[in-house]
Symmetry: C2
Subunit: 229 residues, 2 copies
DNA sequence: TCAAAAGTGTTTCACTTACACCCATGA
DNA sequence: TCATGGGTGTAAGTGAAACACTTTTGA
């Protein structure tokens, strides 16, 4: 057993963003070195000694993309001995979400650079086993959005109601009855009207602007409430 | 950075069993060495070079307890730098279930030895951060039992309907309306009557014996079915 | 023959679903 | 003034919850 290469530990981040035009998108970076040089991959890298896993993810995201996520949870740990051609590398994958504003920011600052958003319907081929990781993350996102208010992490603090509707339609991948969607989600009581109206784009009545009330949501959870779309 | 101790990787197994008298129980081992010598801990240990994580879990379980689980899924990865007093050890925790028969077997074979079942309502204090791991696993078990048929992994192939009822009452930690429970779970169609009757214990009408039809369940899942208690 | 445990029929109520209609805006 | 997108009221259908009753067993 002596002199065997020890198992290495990395983290990878599957970060989703949302914009009305692109739909749900995934943050990818282009690899600068072998293996898989020039291919697209998840942001991530080795965990430093004495470093927390979450810290490692946030550090790598900052370094490689400049992005700060406002939601982060652990996804799954991938440990197949040959997922990295060089040696046994175990990777703890995280699942992150950014608000629309951060989404647009990256788009502006790194145009033609090595970090980019890809709509999840048009993903390039990916390095390592990252395709598998991404698939799992997408499943998780689609499942989770149904019973936890993570949809709001993809929208700005204030958002037109119609955006929320479009986001859910995109995530659940089906058209939903407008009437029933609004009745249901408003009935929970954690959405607040701001009183503002969206400025109309093209024609049609402008949508009302809402805000997610995290405090109210936490109270409801304490009361044993359980929301589901 | 040279000469820093590399991060070590371990696996831990949170294995649950069920018996009518003890309720839901957790499999623990008594540590033979420092640190935490003689304290109770989750079965587990270091991942070998080129070893899959699941293989490592199953190997450690076999070595330390002789138990073979019939359900195993990854739970969470714990990576806090100081969760082990010796050095930075990252542990991938798994969540396992064994059927009643295996449960009773361990009870018989290792009586007064170093592996034992503890009812989850009467757990001893645990080594490392294992208490936290166990809490997460219990939450997962309670959540998951509501929308996935993992309850059957804790019962034998054939079981009296009343056992299923008691198991669910124990897991959900509330009394449930007998009439409605049976109507609901039987309506899904993945439970089969065997035609047998349980031999009565004490007085009262003997319960009918059922069997979980995994094939039928898989079909239902494919059809987009989604069960929930 | 009685208490205990298990099995079953039916009504009530709440919530989802579906449908229809009204309102505000730009072209 | 009309097409488009957004907001709202309500009837019909479906399924869970509650309740009451029957059956089978050992004491």
């Amino acid at each position: 057993m002596q002199h065997e290469a020890p198992i290495k530990l990395t983290v990878d981040a599957v970060v989703f963003g949302y914009a009305k035009n692109d739909g749900v998108s995934l943050l990818l970076v282009q690899r600068a070195y072998e293996p898989f040089k020039n291919e697209w991959a998840l942001p991530g890298g080795f965990v430093l000694a004495e470093e927390k896993l979450e810290t490692a993810v946030e550090r790598e995201l900052k370094e490689e993309t400049g992005i700060h996520v406002n939601y982060l949870e652990q996804l799954y740990t991938f440990g197949d001995p040959n997922r990295d051609p060089r040696q046994h590398v175990v990777s703890v994958a995280y699942f992150g979400l950014v608000k629309s504003s951060a989404y647009l920011q990256l788009k502006a600052s790194t145009d033609a650079s090595d970090a980019r958003w890809f709509p999840i319907k048009k993903l390039p081929s990916l390095a390592f086993d990252h395709k598998k990781i991404v698939q799992l993350a997408i499943e998780r996102l689609k499942m989770k959005v149904r019973y936890q208010p993570i949809g709001f992490e993809l929208l700005d603090k204030k958002f037109p109601f119609s955006d929320l509707e479009k986001l859910y339609a995109a995530l659940l991948d089906k058209e939903l009855n407008r009437r029933n969607f609004s009745k249901k989600i408003l009935s929970y009581g954690f959405l607040e009207e701001t009183g503002e109206l969206a400025k109309p784009e093209g024609r049609g009545r402008p949508s009302m602007i809402y805000r997610f009330n995290q405090k109210r949501y936490n109270e409801l959870i304490k009361e044993g409430y359980h929301f589901e779309i």
